[in-house]
Subunit: 145 residues, 4 copies
């Protein structure tokens, strides 16, 4: 979507309040690093308690941050008092999730009254560089509070 | 798959050893409750630090346990010294993940030399009953240790 | 879903009328072989004009029949005057689509007011036997006529 | 992927030869409109025999052209004598497939020895403008001829 507009001018505080209520995001040390209309970024540091059997961040945690980024990217374009539910997502894993931190980027690519389709990416930042870890294609649903 | 056979007779110890190395599975209190050829179950109790903004278990954690169950279901049919990587998965969410515990069921539905396709389900157990929370369709890849 | 019930007693004629309007289903010789509440089957003969580069039925055609079967499986449980749209689907290909005919089976696994989640399979019938060709996980949406 | 390089300098003739063998692509009037390293475009005119029940191009045909575009985008980066198989794909439908022609764009986003992950889009061209119809996320596999 080119330059989407938020119909709720308070979308950012709405999203930040909701994010703060997510026990998992707090538990893994994740933070919102960008909240714009149709685009939300989430960062998290590498955490030893979040690994799979090879010591990389578990696919479920990689998914958790990009799902959250996509969900709020969709939510940013919804009317006031809208909440967002994940209908479904698909994730391809492109390289192991290792490094100093992960950054998840969620973007709304088509926003409708009920459903919003999002695209997400997760990047691992390592030694000043970055590599792509995963890509997501997701469907989000607006629900009234 | 009807009655798949494990070519590695030590598949169960291999899987239990690998599972024990997963920091995330330990952190969320998950346990292997069934390890059979082509089918693996994982259970976890409801945990307050694992929630999204409405107090349900986060989609990423639901995904983590069913991804792990599917991965080991695939791994159970692989030759000795094989490890498993998640290529990709798709998850549909059918009802909120609330209740006393979640049970993830992973099954191999087509096992090949390189790739194995799996189907997964997550059930929430509540007050003696259960409801389906999510379904997964996934591709797993064998890699030599 | 265990024994789903159709709220529209005329669901079968509704589905058969809609199916007859699908130019593609006619062009490829596909036919409805079962129309039950929450479950629809579609059969098609092998066709030389439907192949990919190795002479197997093209993935897009395999997808077309199982998408249609899943869509009508969802539609069978919707109220009168409901039409169905495909929101999204995911397909894994398990073996080449060759043989005398293909049979697609679509089932509703969770039916809601707006969205229905379906599971689909495509089987190739060859020399009196059959093999599984593809599995689908899909989201369908009810729309008022 | 930024500026991927084709290791097989004959990738274009290889792809054009393979495309010409696809019965379905011929039957629907599809043509290769771009064949570059890691990116392939396919165009097709609107066809009355390709519709679903509302007169739009069937989801399966939309899928067929973007699957083919993604498959050859992956194939363009593979070694000589490589063929490509579709492992799986996921498609979200964003608007009805109507208009004068459809253009499918397939891009390789991560190319490995065995598997290549691709992203695809389908655009409908109508009255000099265009709208996005569908997005795909797919996994392709290299096989030796």
């Amino acid at each position: 979507m080119m330059n989407p507009t938020a119909v709720d001018t308070h979308f950012e505080s709405r999203i930040r309040t909701s994010f703060a209520q997510q026990g998992l995001m707090q538990a893994i040390g994740a933070a919102l690093s960008k909240v714009a209309p149709g685009e939300v970024h989430i960062e998290m540091p590498f955490g030893a308690g979040l690994t799979q059997q090879h010591g990389f961040i578990h696919a479920g945690i990689v998914t958790a941050i990009v799902d959250t980024a996509c969900g709020y990217a969709a939510n940013s374009l919804m009317p006031p008092n809208s909440e967002v539910l994940t209908v479904e997502y698909k994730v391809n894993f492109l390289s192991p999730a290792s490094g100093e931190k992960l950054v998840a980027i969620g973007k709304a690519i088509k926003s409708g009254n009920t459903l919003t389709v999002c695209a997400g990416e997760v990047w691992a930042h390592v030694n000043g560089g970055k590599k792509i870890v995963a890509v997501m294609q997701a469907t989000m649903m607006a629900v009234k509070k």
